[in-house]
């Protein structure tokens, strides 16, 4: 069981000893029942850190942002950053290390095991509440609220509930955890961060939720026409707000190849180059252009996506974007025995091959 006090003490310790310039963690926000990211820089703030099933974000994103900021800063602060990381978040750090985005010594990983549970999927909760807002979400042990946001030790079957208070309705509902846990948590194979400097919580081996890649496998079962009907609907309603890309720690490219909102222009950029940027897809938010955008993003994340599910979580129109990524991760795992974020020394999925890679699909 993760005691949030331990996380707070550890973070305070790091700051006190000057081992890190800041600690990325979660705190209660003003906006919703869900925790929000925070960056604490002094010992006193450590008390505001929280840890519970509403800590959704993959904070590795902010390691990327920090590096980008330091790169343009006139007075860069290169001290390490501490980060509260779940299993998936630590894999993101693994991929970033594999891709030399920063160095191992630049980060202190405060690992937190999700043990037998995971995080709540706000959209699933919304579906349960038919769009109404949860004002309070806590894990429940046998129907009663646990203390201090702590988690159920060894809860592996998802039978434990999640307490939800609905805004404007003061009664508290208990929903079975497996009904509102995020798909990524239900399918997670490594709920404890393997890459860490410290881990709080136990490594729970048996998690009796869904098989890996369950949702993608379900989606595969549909017929071709059904699959297209589904994805046409999804691509069609995409707003192209780029929240999926903005929230993804792997989408750290200085300029997105497919639809940029950030242009890389330096003093050396010629007028020729500016005039000849490739437009692989147009800005129009219609099916075809959004398809190019999302499919490119999926293929560019092949072997890099660590299934934190952030893209899917933040999508305001609830496109199941994670499916595209997990589909490719499934293929990478089954056909190429490749898992992203597990080995920071391995050559990336697409820049390596094996003689026995599938060949029969080729004429």
């Amino acid at each position: 069981m993760v005691n949030v006090e331990e996380i707070r003490d550890y973070a305070a310790g790091l700051l006190e000893k000057g081992e890190v310039k800041s600690v990325l963690g979660f705190r209660r926000g003003s906006a919703s029942a869900f925790a929000e990211p925070c960056t604490i820089t002094n010992v006193g703030e450590a008390a505001s850190l929280v840890w519970d099933p509403t800590c959704l974000n993959n904070l590795a994103l902010y390691l990327v942002k920090d590096r980008k900021q330091q790169a343009v800063s006139k007075t860069p602060d290169t001290r390490p950053v501490g980060i509260v990381a779940k299993g998936c978040d630590s894999r993101a750090i693994g991929v970033l290390l594999q891709e030399n985005y920063f160095k191992r010594e630049d980060v202190v990983v405060i690992g937190v095991s999700c043990e037998g549970t995971g995080v709540v999927d706000p959209r699933k909760l919304s579906a349960k509440l038919k769009g109404r807002t949860a004002s309070r979400v806590t894990f429940a042990v046998q129907g009663s609220t646990s203390v201090a946001g702590g988690r159920t030790p060894g809860a592996t079957d998802g039978a434990d509930g999640i307490n939800v208070s609905v805004y404007g309705d003061e009664t508290e509902t208990v929903i079975p955890a497996r009904e509102v846990l995020a798909d990524r948590c239900l399918e997670c194979r490594a709920a404890a961060p393997a890459l860490n400097d410290v881990v709080f919580g136990n490594t729970v081996e048996a998690r009796d939720f869904n098989e890996p890649f369950h949702a993608a496998k379900e989606a595969e079962r549909l017929s071709e026409d059904e699959r297209w009907a589904t994805w046409e609907r999804h691509f069609d309603r995409c707003l192209r707000c780029f929240a999926c890309r903005a929230v993804c720690p792997m989408c750290y490219c200085p300029e997105c190849v497919v639809d940029s909102t950030t242009f890389v222009v330096t003093l050396g950029t010629s007028a020729e180059e500016k005039a000849n940027r490739i437009r692989w897809c147009e800005r129009s938010a219609n099916t075809s252009e959004s398809a190019v955008y999302h499919l490119t993003r999926a293929i560019h994340l092949a072997g890099r996506c660590i299934d934190c599910g952030e893209c899917e979580r933040v999508c305001p129109v609830n496109i199941p974007l994670r499916l595209l990524n997990t589909k490719l991760e499934k293929e990478a795992f089954e056909m190429f025995e490749y898992q992203a974020g597990h080995d920071i020394e391995q050559a990336s999925l697409l820049s390596s091959f094996r003689d026995e890679d599938p060949n029969s699909f080729i004429r």
């Binding site: 891709e99 030399n100 985005y101 750290y252 490219c253 200085p254 300029e255 190849v257 890389v264 330096t266 050396g268 950029t269 020729e272 000849n276 490739i278 692989w280 560019h300 890099r304 050559a347 990336s348 697409l350 820049s351 390596s352």
Partner: protein, 648 residues
């Protein structure tokens, strides 16, 4: 820069014009953005055609040119040279292939014209984004390496030194000479193999420009054409060749006997041995695997008897690094293993031999001193059966290809047999007789007519031992009957295959192999001695089955290619290489991992291309998720423009 693109559409006589409305293509393209000149012409590659290109460039001040004609493999160079004469950079000229890829494969004029238009239009869009490029100059190390010192390697090395080049000759075995050394006589002239080979071997040993490294193998290579760095590993030299005086006091005391490679296993040798009397280098050598003395507690006999103290068990392998400008690979062949020929008793019956073993039986330097006798009982075989295409031309079970030399050497074997055993009878089972070569057909005819060799057209189904004889079950398809012969000896004309280690050397040197495992030439017709890697050439049977004259020719050809290459002060490397778009690169190293040439490294956290190593394959482009790398003149922008042009 304002685009001023010119287009020429070639009729190629009627070759293109019969199916493609070349005038229409030219007229349509004239309307395209940036096209300021577009015409058709009957033969672009003719002198007037080329002059028209030069004039069009000058008259219209063109900064891009597309010639819509035949495959770029044919005339890209022609028109790029012409462009240069018109003061247009060669790389601003592109070829649109509307002959092989269009006119010749379609009949409907309307359809073919439409496609030709698309192909040409795509090239126009591409050339409008081409940059002027200059070949990359690379300094040259005027020193060559030859890997494998059989007849191919020896010939190549000698030819190279004749041109004044220094040569490192690397041989895996303890002596140079290769397979040719094992041959008795050679077809069709029947001159003695050793007699013609050993003078060349001696020339090698006496040649001060050749650094001979026997019992050595290439360990790794880096660098690029003109500037390779090669690491060569030499086995521990337990016997000092400078000190060894060939007294042969050591072999009698050696307690270990192993099969003698030189005699293809027909005789044994000791752990300490000289491969054969005329070996080059002339020295005894110690077989590391067989010797007991490397553990001095067990044995140390040879060291004890060596008066000059030439033997030192404590020697270690050495690795040297050589600077090399060009490489010839001549690693030769092995015979296809007898163990594959179970139906012929290969590897099972001592009197079923392969071709090389039979050569040793015929050779005066062989175990039997040139007397043909059965290994099993030393009796002279009175009935002998030769089976051709043993393991060759059998795609289902063995090798698909023809081993080329077997027809001839089997005829030679039968002839030699008759010379040794005049009262014996030789039979040859064959599928076809392939005797293309000077004097070859006459030689085969002689063997039939003068030596009474019986040629049976058909396959052998089985060979088995019966009553001390080898019963050969075959079929004579010409007579349409089954044939059974009780033979005393059976000789299998085993297929040639690339020598053991070919795969490894190909991998180390980064040269391709064909589907049969032989080293692949860069072009089957036009670049038969070049490998796909610049600066590495091929000679001899490592590239494919061939006989001695052909091997010697190819070795000479490879040597002359190297001589030509190394005669320049600088080499020109294609400038169509990868270029990193610095601001986009994040240093993730995916391109570094993907590059087959190790041409990309990280410098200050960004990918950096060694333009001399880069071959422009674009593997880096295919893996870079940031589009931070492009191959010059085949950029992603250009591909995008080509797709647009085709789909518009």
């Amino acid at each position: 820069m304002t685009k001023r693109t010119g287009v020429f559409v070639c009729h190629c006589g009627k070759n293109i014009a019969a199916t493609v409305d070349v005038k229409k293509v030219a007229q349509e393209l004239a309307k395209d953005d940036g096209v300021v000149f577009s015409e058709d012409y009957v033969y672009m590659c003719s002198d007037p055609g080329q002059t028209a290109v030069i004039d069009a460039i000058k008259d219209n001040n063109l900064n891009g040119m597309v010639i819509s004609c035949c495959s770029p493999t044919l005339h890209e160079k022609t028109f790029r040279d012409a462009s240069e004469l018109g003061d247009l950079n060669a790389f601003q000229c592109e070829i649109a292939n509307i002959r092989e890829q269009c006119a010749w494969v379609h009949k409907d004029m309307e359809v073919a014209t439409e496609k030709a238009l698309k192909i040409t239009r795509a090239s126009v869009r591409r050339v409008q984004h081409n940059q002027a490029l200059e070949p990359i100059g690379v300094p040259v190390t005027r020193r060559a390496m030859v890997v494998g010192a059989g007849i191919a390697g020896i010939q190549a090395a000698l030819d190279l030194t004749d041109a004044g080049l220094d040569v490192v000759l690397v041989e895996k075995q303890a002596t140079i000479g290769g397979n040719m050394l094992k041959l008795s006589e050679t077809f069709p002239t029947l001159d003695c193999s050793q007699c013609i080979l050993s003078p060349k071997m001696v020339s090698v040993s006496k040649n001060s420009k050749i650094t001979l490294m026997t019992e050595s193998e290439v360990e790794s290579i880096s660098g690029f054409v003109g500037n390779f760095k090669v690491k060569i590993k030499k086995k521990a030299e337990f016997v000092d060749p400078e000190l060894c005086k060939l007294c042969d006091d050591c072999t009698p005391v050696c307690p270990v006997a192993v099969p003698n490679e030189y005699d293809v296993g027909l005789t044994n040798r000791r752990a300490i041995h000289i491969p054969f009397a005329q070996a080059i280098p002339a020295s005894f050598t110690l077989d590391e695997e067989a010797c007991l003395g490397l553990n001095p507690v067990v044995c140390g006999k040879c060291e004890e008897v060596c008066d000059v103290g030439a033997i030192d068990y404590d020697k270690k392998p050495t690795v040297t690094e050589e600077d090399i400008g060009a490489i010839i690979v001549s690693t030769g062949f092995d015979l296809y293993g007898m163990e594959h020929m179970g139906e012929f008793g290969g590897g099972r019956y001592p009197d079923v031999l392969d071709g090389l073993q039979f050569e040793r039986l015929c050779s005066a330097s062989g175990a039997t001193e040139g007397h043909i006798m059965r290994p099993s009982d030393h009796k002279v075989p009175k009935e002998i059966v030769f089976i051709q295409c043993s393991g060759s031309r059998d795609p289902e079970n063995h090798c698909a290809y023809c081993s080329k030399i077997c027809c001839m050497y089997t005829a030679k074997h039968a002839t030699l047999y008759k010379h040794h055993v005049p009262d014996g009878q030789a039979y040859i089972f064959y599928i076809d007789i392939r005797s293309g070569g000077k004097g070859y057909e006459e030689f085969v005819q002689r063997s039939m007519e003068n030596d009474g060799v019986i040629y049976l057209r058909g396959r052998v189904s089985r060979v088995y031992e019966k009553d001390g004889k080898l019963r050969v079950m075959g079929v004579d398809t010409l007579a349409g009957r089954n044939v059974e012969i009780d033979a005393d000896m059976v000789v299998l004309a085993q297929a040639m295959e690339p020598s053991k280690g070919t795969a490894e050397i190909a991998k180390i040197l980064k040269i391709a192999r064909d589907k049969d495992g032989f080293l692949a030439e860069a072009h089957p017709k036009l670049k038969p001695v070049e490998s796909v890697t610049a600066g590495i050439y091929l000679a001899g049977a490592a590239q494919g089955p061939k006989d001695i004259p052909e091997t010697v020719s190819q070795a000479g050809a490879a040597a002359s290619k190297v001589i030509a290459l190394l005669s320049k002060d600088q080499l020109a490397h294609s400038p169509m290489v990868a270029k990193v778009r610095d601001p986009y690169c994040t240093g993730c190293e995916m391109c570094v991992d993907a590059c087959p040439y190790d041409a990309i490294t990280l410098v200050d956290g960004k990918a950096s291309v060694n333009e001399v190593l880069c071959e422009g394959c674009g593997s880096c482009v295919g893996v870079c998720v940031r589009a931070a790398i492009d191959v010059k003149n085949v950029t992603q922008l250009q591909i995008h423009e080509m797709i647009s042009a085709i789909m518009a």
